[in-house]
């Protein structure tokens, strides 16, 4: 059990900066997921915590002790790698027990702990096998066991599920969660998969281009994305983002041949300036034709089984709308939408940062209500 | 290419590399430096420190008709030998690559000559292609002196080149077969769908894709022909440069001049020229290898 403090950490490769001053604090026992597209610096950050990567500036402290100059083995971290990095010439038992062997744990003790750990991950029958004779899921378990056996203060996961097929990924996700509850060591999990991030995290760190974009609980981030990047990265299909001018007189924005109302006080605050307006596809409501709704022409439909997504065009720009099972539309149809002002997000056009509205949706809006807001209205 | 996961220590890599570096220093860099030094100096006949003589040793070599003879012999050797070795290897590789029943057996056998040292092969070929016995005897009986390497320089040169070809055909075969097997099967299948028969496929699809391997082999084989251990070994064991300097390749002349003529400076000057030649080859190969990487 240990907390991790990351203070103004920078990293550059030669002259190319990879991380620009990251400040984070992970509490003891917390499960933190770092989410971001490839190349955002998330793995670099993880590897700096592990001690596999030099720290260019700032400092990292584990359990209050600055570890900048410590070797990986002195930091008390264990790591699960994306490609598992199993030692191909050693048996499963050899792989799991290698760290103990290196640290000079006597053989009997070592074997006892290998057996114990193998049982936790369900590998007790495979101890004599070589990694090459294991399935992907089993290899993944060996990699986990190798981390568990050291009883580390900190678990580091570098996209460990990305090499598994979809079904296995879901079950391993649950297992990792369970394992965390059981061992309750501080865990840092890096991924580019938002579903993985949302389901696993106590707290989520969204990174982009070497910056931390937002830190918060998963739902908080979903409902109040701090920037256009976060808004478009979290949620599937992605949030619709359009550029528009706030008109003070009518307290609204002009969009798709209609006037979308916004809170007058907020409109007054923005005084006719251009903003990026965002709304999630699942928050668009259908209106009856002729009610002055935003008109969207359907380009194509994506069936999801549960519901469907209509990819439309509004003012010549792409715009996605989530529909429930009962709404039947076809390509070429026109949909009319109302965009509830409490679900609108506003972002600065320059910086992309969120502009807070007083009418912003409550942070913990119940997820179940999203689809019920839609009303029938197909033209 | 750099590895990401590296250990940090300034002294460990030195400790690990030291044994080989010391050997290389003693038996490679020091001798190479000495070659350069000797090439530009001359040791007086009655002792004393060596004198700097500039390019005199080179001029002396260039003035010697036997030197130019060795250059011509080496050129013939290093062009004809590789061309035949590569052609034979290529034809055999294309044949074996068709994977007809039994081709595995031939593949196994073709590499065997490469295991044989040039001089040992030379010994055997002295018998096999001897004018008085073996196979050529019947020919000579019909047309006297149609084949007599002991008497005619050209015949002797042909003999040593044949030995070179014999030894190295299996080697080029291995590389070309590996090259052919790395050509995606789908390419041959696509050509077959386009209506190309086996011969057309070989010429239109396989050989062009082998171009990098062919070029690589040409450079390696020519280097081998000029300075290879087997080139010296074959000539030394079979003809000793004769008859009448007809097989005196450059390497042979260098070693001969140094150890028989005791003319270290002359030999060194000739070595420098040879080193220059190899460097040109290596440079060409490098440029080409670089291009090949970009091509991929």
């Amino acid at each position: 059990m240990a907390d991790i403090a990351i203070r103004a950490v920078r990293k550059s490769y030669g002259k190319t900066p990879a991380l620009h001053g990251v400040d984070l604090f992970f509490a003891s026992g917390e499960f933190v997921v770092i989410l971001g597209p490839s190349g955002c610096g998330k793995s670099t950050l993880l590897r700096m915590i592990a001690g596999l990567e030099d720290i260019t500036g700032g400092e990292i402290a584990i359990d209050g002790r600055v570890v900048n100059r410590l070797e990986p083995r002195e930091r008390g971290c264990a790591m699960v790698f994306q490609n598992y990095a199993l030692y191909p010439h050693m048996s499963v038992a050899g792989n799991i027990g290698y760290a103990l062997k290196v640290s000079g744990v006597p053989k009997a003790e070592r074997e006892r702990r290998i057996a114990e750990t193998a049982k936790i991950v369900g590998l007790q029958d495979y101890l004599a096998r070589r990694p090459a004779a294991l399935s992907g899921g089993q290899r993944q378990r060996v990699a986990m066991a190798r981390a568990i056996i050291r009883e580390p203060k900190v678990f580091l996961f570098d996209e460990p599920l990305s090499n598994l097929d979809a079904k296995l990924r879901i079950s391993m996700r649950a297992e990792i969660r369970k394992l965390h509850q059981r061992l309750s060591a501080t865990s840092v999990f890096v991924t580019h998969d938002q579903v993985e991030a949302m389901t696993l995290a106590d707290r989520l760190v969204v990174m982009n281009r070497g910056h931390v974009e937002q830190v918060g609980r998963p739902l908080e981030i979903y409902h109040r994305p701090a920037s256009t990047f976060v808004a478009s990265f979290i949620g599937a299909p992605a949030m619709n983002l359009v550029r528009s001018r706030v008109e003070v007189e009518s307290a609204g924005i002009r969009f798709g041949g209609a006037m979308v109302a916004i809170d007058p006080a907020f409109a007054a605050k923005l005084r006719g300036q251009d903003v990026t307006v965002g709304i999630r596809p699942e928050h668009c409501c259908l209106a009856a034709p002729g009610d002055g709704g935003v008109e969207a022409r359907v380009d194509f439909i994506e069936e999801l089984g549960v519901g469907r997504v209509a990819y439309c065009e509004v003012d010549g720009l792409p715009f996605a709308i989530s529909l429930d099972d009962h709404t039947v539309v076809a390509a070429g149809d026109s949909l009319f939408l109302t965009l509830p002002s409490e679900h609108l997000h506003f972002f600065d056009i320059e910086s992309g940062r969120r502009i807070e509205t007083d009418a912003a949706a409550p942070v913990a809006a119940p997820a179940a209500s999203q689809h019920s807001e839609q009303t029938m209205g197909v033209h | 290419m750099e590895k990401r996961a590296v250990f940090k220590s300034w002294w460990l890599p030195i400790v690990f590399a030291l044994p080989q570096l010391l050997l290389i220093l003693c038996f490679f860099y020091w001798p190479v430096a000495a070659v350069v030094n000797w090439a530009f100096t001359l040791e007086p006949p009655f002792g004393g420190p060596a004198e700097f003589v500039g390019f005199a040793n080179f001029q002396e070599a260039f003035a010697d008709p036997f030197y130019w003879n060795s250059v011509v012999v080496s050129l013939i050797f290093a062009i004809v030998g590789p061309l035949f070795a590569i052609s034979i290897g290529l034809v055999l590789a294309i044949a074996v690559d068709r994977q007809l029943p039994g081709s595995g057996f031939f593949r196994f056998l073709y590499i065997l000559p490469y295991a044989i040292a040039g001089p040992a092969a030379g010994m055997a070929f002295r018998f096999i292609l001897s004018p008085e016995r073996g196979l050529a005897a019947s020919l000579n009986a019909m047309w006297p002196d149609i084949w007599n390497p002991a008497k005619y320089g050209e015949h002797a040169l042909a003999l040593v080149i044949i030995i070179f070809i014999w030894k190295w055909s299996g080697y080029t075969f291995i590389f070309l077969l590996a090259g052919l097997q790395s050509v995606p099967r789908a390419l041959g299948e696509a050509a077959a769908m386009d209506g190309a028969g086996p011969f057309r496929r070989a010429i239109d699809v396989q050989v062009p894709l082998l171009a990098p391997t062919l070029f690589f082999l040409l450079v390696t084989m020519m280097t081998e022909g000029f300075v290879g251990a087997d080139t010296f070994g074959i000539v030394h064991a079979v003809t000793e440069g004769g008859p009448n300097h007809g097989t005196e390749v450059m390497v042979y002349r260098i070693v001969d001049e140094a150890f028989k003529g005791l003319n270290y400076s002359g030999a060194s000057a000739q070595s420098i020229i040879l080193i220059g030649l190899i460097m040109i080859f290596t440079f060409i190969q490098f440029r080409f290898v670089e291009k090949r990487v970009h091509y991929k």
Binding site: R73 | F7, I24, M123, F127, L135, W166, V227, G233, I275
Partner: protein, 295 residues
């Protein structure tokens, strides 16, 4: 792919048989000649059929060229060259690939350049160094301080002298380097996370993983060591150190003596046998090593 190409198949087989005659034919002639009597071997036309005289001929060749000594020496030389290369190259490649050090490029290039200049073009001064190993040290010392040392360390007529200069080249280093580069970065990282330092990583991970590469290198280095010609020719004057390639000459029939080529061929066959066996039995490794070291 369905292929019904009888003509092409026939041509293919014809080519393969032609290749067989060309490349394996000489072996058949050697085998036939080595097992015949002197009369048979000199008969015109030559008979390609082996006879039963091989053991007699071989015994005579063995005695004439003192093959017992020569084979032993060649074996020692080949084994030493192989072992030295397999071990030292692994060390150097490890230093070049797995350390972040300004020297690694110096190491890499200083090793790489040795690929370009074979022994033949620098043989004279290499011989001089072997004749007086301390010569470089002496020269440097006299250059800087005028110090003279009187010790001579002579490698002529010794196994050290036969092998060390042959180990001082880059082939093996590159084979290991290629292999080390293909290992995923995570392997070393996982080992580091597990607490293993560089030396431990080398012995626990790299060496066991390099087994196939070592085997490949062993085969080509053995053949290389066994087939050395020029170097032993220069280094050895003492007959007790002579190698098989040197004894080839004594197998030849004297110019005006009895043309007992059957004995010569039997002797040559014995000398060819060890590398032939290595290449034949371990062909998979040999070919892999060959292709890998050159690319």
């Amino acid at each position: 792919m369905i292929q019904r190409t009888p003509v092409a198949n026939a041509v293919t087989y014809a080519i393969m048989v032609f290749g067989f005659i060309l490349l394996i034919g000489p072996f058949l002639v050697i085998i036939a000649g080595a097992s015949q009597t002197m009369q048979q071997v000199n008969a015109i036309p030559f008979s390609f059929l082996p006879d039963n005289q091989f053991l007699t001929n071989a015994a005579q060749a063995w005695k004439r060229a003192d093959l017992g000594t020569a084979m032993t020496n060649s074996l020692i030389m080949a084994v030493l060259v192989t072992a030295g290369k397999v071990a030292l190259s692994a060390f150097t490649a490890f230093a070049i690939v797995f350390f972040r050090s300004p020297l690694k490029h110096v190491f890499f290039w200083s090793v790489f350049i040795t690929l370009m200049l074979p022994l033949e073009v620098r043989v004279v001064p290499t011989y001089a160094v072997a004749a007086d190993l301390l010569q470089p040290v002496k020269s440097i010392l006299s250059l800087f301080g005028g110090i003279q040392i009187g010790i001579d360390w002579n490698l002529l007529n010794s196994y050290t002298g036969l092998t060390l200069p042959l180990i001082a080249t880059a082939t093996g280093t590159f084979l290991y380097r290629q292999f080390f580069m293909t290992l995923p970065d995570e392997l070393a990282e996982a080992a580091r996370m597990d607490g293993s330092g560089p030396v431990r990583f080398f012995f626990d991970m790299l060496l066991p993983l390099s087994r196939t590469n070592m085997l490949a290198l062993t085969t080509i280095m053995f053949v290389y060591g066994w087939n050395q010609y020029l170097w032993p020719l220069l280094m050895v004057t003492d007959p007790s150190y002579k190698t098989v390639m040197m004894s080839l000459r004594s197998l030849l029939p004297a110019d005006n003596g009895t043309p007992d080529w059957n004995v010569t061929l039997a002797g040559s066959l014995l000398i060819m046998l060890p590398p032939l066996i290595v290449v034949g039995v371990l062909q998979r490794w040999f070919v892999r090593g060959l292709v890998a070291t050159e690319k």
